[in-house]
């Protein structure tokens, strides 16, 4: 839902970042207001996951320029855990398996960390079990997954559901979901999309990274951005996604070549 007067939650300006010596983000700008749903699409390797990880604070990426304001404050100076406690959530494209750490305990520690960030008191084990059982229904996940190690041996789709379960528990202000729809069967896609719709409200915002229109059929984006070679090449409404589905990304090359010439002409 677009409301021009809604508060800006995330403001990314000219963000550049590299991994080792290789520049990957080459000037990303994006503004997200409360209530909005944004979709980011783009070819493999265009930098979508890199953007999401830079936002979450992954240590492998070095920010080389630009700013990111989260609720008006500098996001990039915060440790990853503080970003999460402040309500930024990253749903991983490849959720990480953590052998030996029980999913239930992980979820409890994470939930309590976020609650502390919201100024709420910790939930004890019993109160947490009640909460988690209730939220499990959002993603229709079997409670047996709570007893297993975090993501260990989960199927691709189960991992994605576990991500949405975490999102449901952590009550994020800005959720960045990196290809949460890939690897899902049709039922699971509906469940996951239902979960996202259920959790989206006027006070929070969602950034969906996806390759497929089928997700956007269920979750209607307010904006669609096309990422190419480390920047956002074009922004439009939901019809841009439909257009991409039809035309593919060939036009990107021409447009990229054009934009790459422009700075030289201007400068």
């Amino acid at each position: 839902m677009i409301r021009p007067d809604a508060p800006v939650l995330l403001e990314i300006r000219d963000l550049t970042a590299r991994v080792e010596d290789q520049p990957i983000l080459k000037g990303v700008s994006l503004t997200i207001r409360a209530g909005e749903i944004h979709a980011v699409m783009g070819r493999n390797g265009s930098g979508k996951s890199t953007l999401s990880k830079v936002l979450a604070g992954h240590p492998a990426y070095t920010v080389t320029g630009g700013t990111v304001l989260y609720k008006g404050e500098d996001l990039l100076s915060l440790e990853p855990e503080l970003r999460a406690r402040a309500g930024l959530f990253l749903g991983f494209q490849y959720p990480v398996e953590i052998p030996g750490v029980s999913n239930l305990e992980f979820l409890r520690v994470a939930t309590n960390a976020r609650r502390a960030g919201k100024g709420q008191e910790e939930l004890d084990t019993f109160a947490f079990e009640d909460l988690v059982r209730e939220r499990l229904q959002v993603v229709q996940m079997d409670p047996a997954f709570l007893e297993r190690s975090v993501n260990e041996g989960f199927s691709g789709g189960e991992k994605k559901r576990n991500e949405i379960l975490q999102m449901a528990l952590l009550d994020p202000l800005v959720a960045v979901l990196d290809e949460t729809d890939s690897g899902l069967d049709i039922d699971a896609l509906r469940i996951v999309a239902g979960g996202v719709n259920h959790l989206a409200g006027p006070d929070n915002a969602t950034l969906l990274i996806t390759h497929y229109q089928r997700l956007l059929d269920v979750i209607t984006p307010d904006y669609v951005h096309v990422m190419a070679a480390g920047r956002i090449l074009r922004t439009g409404g939901k019809e841009l996604a439909l257009e991409l589905e039809e035309r593919g990304y060939d036009w990107v090359d021409a447009e990229l070549a054009a934009t790459e010439r422009t700075p030289a002409e201007v400068g």
Binding site: A56, G57, H58, P59, A60, E79, P80, E81, R83, A84, R85, L90, F92, P95, V96, I98, P99, G100, V101, E105, F106, V109, A110, A113, R114, A116, G117, S149, V150, Q166, L170
Partner: protein, 426 residues
């Protein structure tokens, strides 16, 4: 003629290991109360051999990384630890406290299936499994033999429903606490045992367990040993297995200035199942060492071995896993995996499989990994609001739990992980 054998080292005594040992042996003989001491003859024999055996130096391969000289800084006396505070016993287990002097069975009603072994029978049995597994001449075993005053010896028949907990706490006192254990499992017998050895002072806990498993017998064996920065542990577990028997050993030790565990298994005719799961931790300037040995003396034997180690600070972890598959041991199936977590640049991990395979139709897999905490795992936890240090602790715990959760249920009240990491007040 115990006194005579002792005169040799005593005469040669100057400073150094020799005089320390002589003083210890003299003390170990001194306390023996005549008559009621079943161990006197074997103690004298061991003392005699020990007196002529130099302290293994680091030039000896088996002790290359583990220096025994610090032992000789300990008081050369036998400890009589006072009863220590203990957590409540888990339901379904019987706890026996071992203090090296008193009869652990005094006033105890043994559960059905367990009975003490004594007299001639004890004399005829004690040391046999040590000999069979080639452990009798190991220095820690000799030291134990030359000093132990008591042996807890039990015969097991049928399925024993109660878990046997064998517990010692060397406490804060100085000296040496030798403990000797013998289990004889009759064919088809089944038992679960948990050893717990703790310390909080400058002392040595010396433990030797012999277990003989009859045909089809099963022994589930846990050993939990959270140590003290100044304490030492030398533990030997010798197991002789008949065909169809199952031995499963789960151990966790750490926190000792020097902690060394030597599981030595023999499948006498092969066709048995052995499993070893171990966790060891070394922080500060501690040494955690495991030297395991598995011998398949017949065909169709199986071994599943997982050894995990964590080294932090300037700690040092040593693992040597010997597996012997002679020609007679066709169709042996052995797998050994050593997984190590290196948490500091100044810590050290030495891990070495030692496979001697002569039989040709066998499957022997082995592998070793040394790694640090995974950046992606840490980041995943951090991205959920978990602070870096807490995330690291969770990952460390996850690494350890794989082994610890296999300890017998009776280990639960002992809070294995917290005690190994020194996170609980003692």
């Amino acid at each position: 003629m115990v006194a005579a054998s002792l005169s040799t080292p005593a005469a040669a005594a100057g400073a150094g290991p020799g005089s320390w040992l002589a003083a210890l042996l003299a003390n170990a003989t001194g306390v023996a109360s005549a008559g009621a001491d079943a161990l006197a003859p074997s103690r004298a024999r061991a003392a005699q051999i020990l007196a002529q055996t130099p302290l293994p130096s680091r030039r000896v391969e088996a002790w290359r990384f583990t220096d025994l000289v610090p032992l000789t800084a300990l008081s050369p006396t036998l400890l009589s630890p006072a009863p220590a505070e203990q957590p409540q016993t888990a339901a379904g287990s019987l706890r026996l406290s071992l203090d090296g002097h008193s009869d652990a069975l005094a006033g105890i009603n043994l559960p059905v299936g367990l009975e003490p072994i004594s007299g001639d029978e004890l004399n005829a049995t004690l040391g046999k499994v040590l000999a069979a597994t080639g452990s009798a001449e190991l220095w820690p075993v000799l030291l134990n033999g030359a000093t132990a005053q008591q042996v807890l010896a039990l015969r097991v028949r049928g399925t024993v429903a109660t878990t046997l907990e064998l517990v010692s706490d060397a406490g804060a006192g100085e000296g040496i606490l030798p403990l000797r254990l013998l289990l004889v499992l009759e064919p088809g017998a089944s038992l679960e045992v948990l050893q717990v050895h703790r310390s909080s002072g400058a002392n040595l806990t010396s433990v030797v367990l012999e277990a003989r498993l009859g045909e089809g017998a099963e022994l589930r064996h846990g050993l939990l040993a959270p140590g003290a920065e100044t304490g030492c542990l030398l533990a030997t577990v010798a197991v002789e297995q008949a065909t169809g028997s199952r031995y499963s050993g789960v151990s966790a030790h750490g926190g000792w200035a020097l902690g060394r565990l030597e599981p030595r298994l023999l499948q006498r005719e092969g066709a048995a199942h052995s499993a070893l799961k171990a966790l060891q931790l070394a922080d500060g300037r501690q040494i955690s060492d495991t030297h395991s040995q598995m011998v398949f003396a017949g065909p169709d034997g199986r071994l599943e071995q997982l050894h995990k180690a964590v080294a932090d600070g300037q700690g040092r972890s040593v693992f040597n896993g010997a597996v012997q598959v002679p020609r007679a041991a066709q169709r042996t199936d052995a797998a050994q995996l050593s997984r190590n977590l290196l948490l500091s640049d100044r810590a050290r991990i030495d891990t070495k499989p030692e496979l001697e395979i002569v039989a040709d139709d066998v499957r022997c897999a082995h592998g070793a990994t040394v790694s640090r905490l995974e950046q992606d795992e840490l980041f995943y936890l951090q991205s959920r609001g978990i602070a870096a240090d807490q995330a690291a602790r969770l990952l460390l715990r996850g690494f350890c739990e794989e082994v610890l959760q296999e300890l017998p249920e009776a280990a639960r009240p002992w809070q294995a992980l917290a005690s190994l990491l020194g996170e609980q007040g003692r």
